[in-house]
């Protein structure tokens, strides 16, 4: 009965979503308070219903109810409990249910935490959000119903793909989805702004926490996914420019641009059209990613034919929401009044530059991801666009972003002093350049490695220069400095940490140039040199897991005779799906990692090994955590700030300044 209650709740959620999409919208257009007020309880109720539904499916997984097709196809009675939980979203139907759950979650949070928001804006936001929810609920119920039943029920399930039987599955998809789907709410805000014509600084303020939240989770989700790929796939790689990864990177780039342009809109009432456009773009890219991953277009253009229903359905959703919002956009954009005016060299100018570069990055990834698909669809020719393309295009675009980041923090709103800002960055520049030289002298390696690490050092130091200037100063006592540091808006700290996080990630990426890779055949007891360390397999041990058998290689890592760490890389055979998965052994020493993968075990007792020494590699993900921390700091800043125009005593004549004299 519980399963059917979950099914019924899902259908009920759809009906409610339709009503929530229509009534508050009508209320906002008729300016009728009663109809608008329906949005809030409806949004909360919708979340509860989808939650019940999700809970029911989880229950079916936990008790191994194989009368549910989805459970039969993706679970097994012997599967460890944690994977019975996470297996709920380890498949198409369940993950779409999670998608809908998060859509509803964002609607409900807006309904609950929006006291300061105008009624009509809230009603419209929740109505648009509900349209999205209704579209996806339809999709789930009609093409991917997780509650489809199977009678007679089989006695055993087909088990979850072993690659997914990993703690990563419990963490990565929910984080990523909260990020991905989180941009639905900024989209709803944008559509609401366009419908109501309420496109102003206050709007930017209301939308900000949700953009930030989505961005934080997307950052964490992508980082977690990359770490998962790194330790699971056995190649020691963490980013493959795989279309599925790109599908998550594109919304991240657009979302990052949105975050910055929304700041300009909030403080200076400028960049309004652009901000709205980015809000639409970020979610459109999320939808595009979903379409690419779910329709089967990605693996092959032909697999589209195996389930055309799903692909066409998502395509229809895509066209409706992107087309609809862009039409609204075209209709309203001309009526927008230009807002605050600023000189090219100013905080706003720097943020415009950031936006231009980020969207260009995004376009590059877009082309690199979709061009091969389009080419194959039209000519049948298969090409693969991989790391070389992205390194050549994405890399050069990102370097100016990084150079400009600390400068932008230093510039004042409205009219900035570029040379003043540059002067204050002398220290950071010196540390960056010096660091690059020292690292080159110590480690050598490809030129890119020390150069990029130097750039990273410049960014990390530069991120805090502005804050140091605001709280420090000659002759200030420590207590004053601390008091000022606490008094500083959290968003300033947030910016500094997020930027420094990028610096850390960049440092980790640059350091891959110093890494060591060895692919060798070895015997038990034979010492192998990897970078500064010596690795040796002490013994092999077969072990029995709950639904797999594994061969573990007990291995120790030592330096100069002293054992530093022990790792247990293994090969696991999963019987139900007759698949083998390797489990890499990873030891973190300092910020670097020794990575060992058991590629094959030969009949003569020798082992094929992949061994890596990756200095500073952990910084890649620590950097992402720091970025997210910056986001949280910023999110916790409840206070509102307004742009300050630095009064320039002497005015150099810059183009566009004629208007700036307002």
């Amino acid at each position: 009965m519980i399963v059917e209650i979950g099914h019924y709740a899902l259908v009920l959620a759809l009906a409610l979503a339709i009503v929530q999409g229509v009534v508050p919208l009508a209320g906002a257009l008729r300016r009728d308070v009663a109809l608008m007020a329906m949005a809030r309880p409806a949004a909360v109720m919708q979340f509860l219903l989808v939650g019940i539904s999700f809970g029911a499916l989880t229950y079916a997984y936990v008790v191994s109810d194989f009368s549910v097709v989805n459970v039969f196809e993706n679970s097994h009675s012997l599967k460890p409990l944690v994977y019975k939980f996470s297996g709920v979203w380890g498949n198409h139907e369940g993950s779409m249910l999670l998608w809908v759950l998060i859509l509803a979650l964002f609607g409900a949070t807006v309904a609950v935490f929006s006291h300061g928001m105008p009624d009509d804006l809230r009603a419209l936001v929740l109505a648009v959000q509900s349209w999205i929810a209704a579209a996806f609920l339809f999709f789930v119920l009609l093409t991917s119903n997780p509650f489809a039943r199977l009678i007679p029920a089989p006695l055993e399930g087909r088990d979850l793909n072993p690659l997914l039987q990993d703690p990563g599955l419990a963490i990565h998809p929910p984080l990523l989805y909260v990020g991905y789907v989180g941009f639905s709410i900024t989209f709803s805000f944008a559509a609401a702004a366009l419908i109501s014509g309420r496109i102003d600084a206050a709007w930017a303020r209301y939308v900000r926490p949700w953009t930030l939240a989505a961005w934080i989770f997307l950052t964490l989700g992508i980082a977690m996914g990359s770490y998962w790929a790194y330790y699971t796939l056995g190649w020691g790689g963490f980013w493959f420019w795989d279309p599925v990864e790109n599908a998550s990177l594109m919304p991240w780039l657009a979302g990052t641009a949105l975050l910055h342009s929304a700041a300009v809109m909030e403080k200076r009432d400028a960049l309004k059209i652009w901000t709205i456009f980015l809000a639409i773009l970020a979610f459109s890219l999320s939808l595009l990613g979903t379409f690419l991953v779910r329709s089967g277009v990605l693996t092959s253009v032909h697999s589209f034919a195996t389930d055309p229903q799903r692909g066409v359905f998502i395509l229809a959703i895509l066209v409706f929401f992107i087309g609809g919002s862009l039409a609204l956009f075209a209709f309203r954009a001309s009526a927008l009044k230009p807002g605050g005016i600023f000189a090219p060299v100013s905080r706003e100018g720097a943020l415009v530059l950031n936006n231009l570069l980020l969207t260009t990055c995004c376009a590059t990834v877009f082309v690199g991801t979709l061009y091969p698909l389009a080419l194959e669809a039209m000519t049948g020719e298969k090409i693969s666009v991989g790391a070389p393309f992205f390194n050549l295009t994405f890399g050069p675009l990102f370097i100016p972003i990084i150079l400009a980041m600390p400068i932008g923090q230093m510039l004042a709103w409205k009219r900035g002093d570029f040379f003043g800002a540059a002067q204050r960055l002398v220290l950071a520049t010196a540390i960056g350049a010096g660091g690059a030289l020292v690292l080159y002298a110590l480690r050598g390696g490809p030129v890119a490695a020390p150069l990029l690490s130097g750039l990273a050092l410049y960014l990390i130091i530069g991120s805090f220069v502005e804050i140091a200037g605001r709280i420090g100063g000659r002759g200030k006592s420590l207590s004053v400095i601390i008091a000022r540091a606490i008094g500083l808006p959290r968003s300033a700290w947030g910016t500094a940490f997020a930027h420094a996080g990028i610096g850390l990630t960049l440092f980790g990426l640059a350091a891959t140039g110093w890494g060591v890779e060895r692919v060798i055949t070895a015997r038990v007891g034979e010492p192998i040199a990897v970078g500064p360390y010596e690795v040796s397999i002490r013994s092999l041990e077969p072990r029995l897991g709950s639904n797999y058998q594994e061969l573990v290689a007990h291995t120790s890592i030592s330096e100069g005779g002293a054992v530093l760490a022990e790792i247990d890389p293994s090969r696991r055979s999963f019987t139900t799906r007759s698949m083998v998965r390797t489990e890499a052994g990873i030891a973190t020493i300092g910020m670097g990692q020794v990575y060992m993968n058991l590629a094959d075990v030969r009949a003569d007792g020798t082992l094929d090994l992949r061994l890596y020494w990756k200095p500073y590699v952990a910084l890649i993900w620590i950097g992402a955590l720091i970025m997210a921390l910056g986001g949280f700091l910023s999110l916790s800043d409840r206070r509102l700030r307004i742009g300050i125009a630095k009064r320039a005593a002497a005015r150099a004549s810059v183009s566009g300044q004629a208007q700036a004299a307002e």
Binding site: M1, V3, I5, H7, Y8, V11, L12, L14, A15, L16, I18, V19, V22, V23, A26, G27, R30, R31, D32, V33, A34, L35, A37, M38, R40, P41, A42, M45, L49, V63, S64, D65, F66, S67, G116, M117, P118, D119, D120, L141, N145, F147, R149, A153, L155, R158, D200, A202, D269, G487, T576, S578, L640, R641, I642, G643, I644, A645, K646, R647
Partner: protein, 368 residues
Amino acid sequence: MVWAVFALMTGAVVLAVLWPLGGARAVGAHAPDVSFYRSQIEEIDRDLALGLLTPADAEAARSEAARRLLRASDAPSAPMSVSRTGIRLGALAALLLIPAITLSLYGFLGNPELPDQPLKGRQPERQGQFEVETAVSKIEAHLAANPNDGRGWDILAPVYMRLGRYEDAARAFGNAARVLGETPERLTAQGEALVYGAREQVSPQARANFEKVLQLNTGDPVASFYIALSREQSGDRAGALADFMALAGGTPIDAPWQPAVRARILALGGTPPEAQAGPKGEVADAVRAMPTGEQRATIRSMVDSLAARLEQNGNDVEGWLRLLRSYVVLQEPDLARAALMRAQKALAEDADALRRLEALAAELGLKG
């Protein structure tokens, strides 16, 4: 019981959305915006006090914020109101739309009468399954060590089929063929496993299997059936229809595949030969409209009639063999075993027939 829960849920939802209709009051439209700009101005004073702003900067920022505040409070806007018609329409939408949409869609999709079937409550069923699985994992372990034991693969493959592990079955049949050689039986069985594993789609690999079978064994009905099916799936409806017609006409009317062939012919818009045996008119339309599950049910009823005929006249070894295969294909191992025992009894005098039964039973994994 379940409907009571559904009714409660629906009621709660309708009530929740009706609730605010009652208590709504008209308010000024722009209050939140005005307070937003006001708080921006207060913020400037606080910064000034903290020493984060020079007085000149604060002055400039304050005047800018004040301009926006003025704009926000002056902006003309229609007043918000509460209207009786509005409330009525809203209430109507909630009261009618929500139950109507839910009931019609759930009525279409749901299975309200189906209880949960948690594995714990299915011990008796599991017992038998458990024994099979222990046996399977023993054989698996044995084969992992001796991958060239062809007979072992031959035994394991049909068991996989029965357990619904079609990919494994296809692999096992392939291994048996690798070690013991490709026979029409192994090729056909592997082909069928591939088809079942691909949700009834005939993949190129499966098709290649059936083509090989036809080379070895011209006119093999099962292979012909799947070749025709693959034609249909690749869009050659006319060719598929011709193939199915030939198959229907060229094999005995009571052959176990006849119902499936006829169903395909009907689905392709043809009329099966010897029309008196096939469903006609309204019945034909009904079969054509049947989902795959019901087509299966029809097939099952045909198999049942074969069983009934053999019950009356058991001296038909071909009939028994067909019946055993049909039961295994329908995944009814228990019925197959029972039929095997009846067949052995009915054919007790015929040594050759018994040998053939034994051989088939081994191939289908009905022994042990």
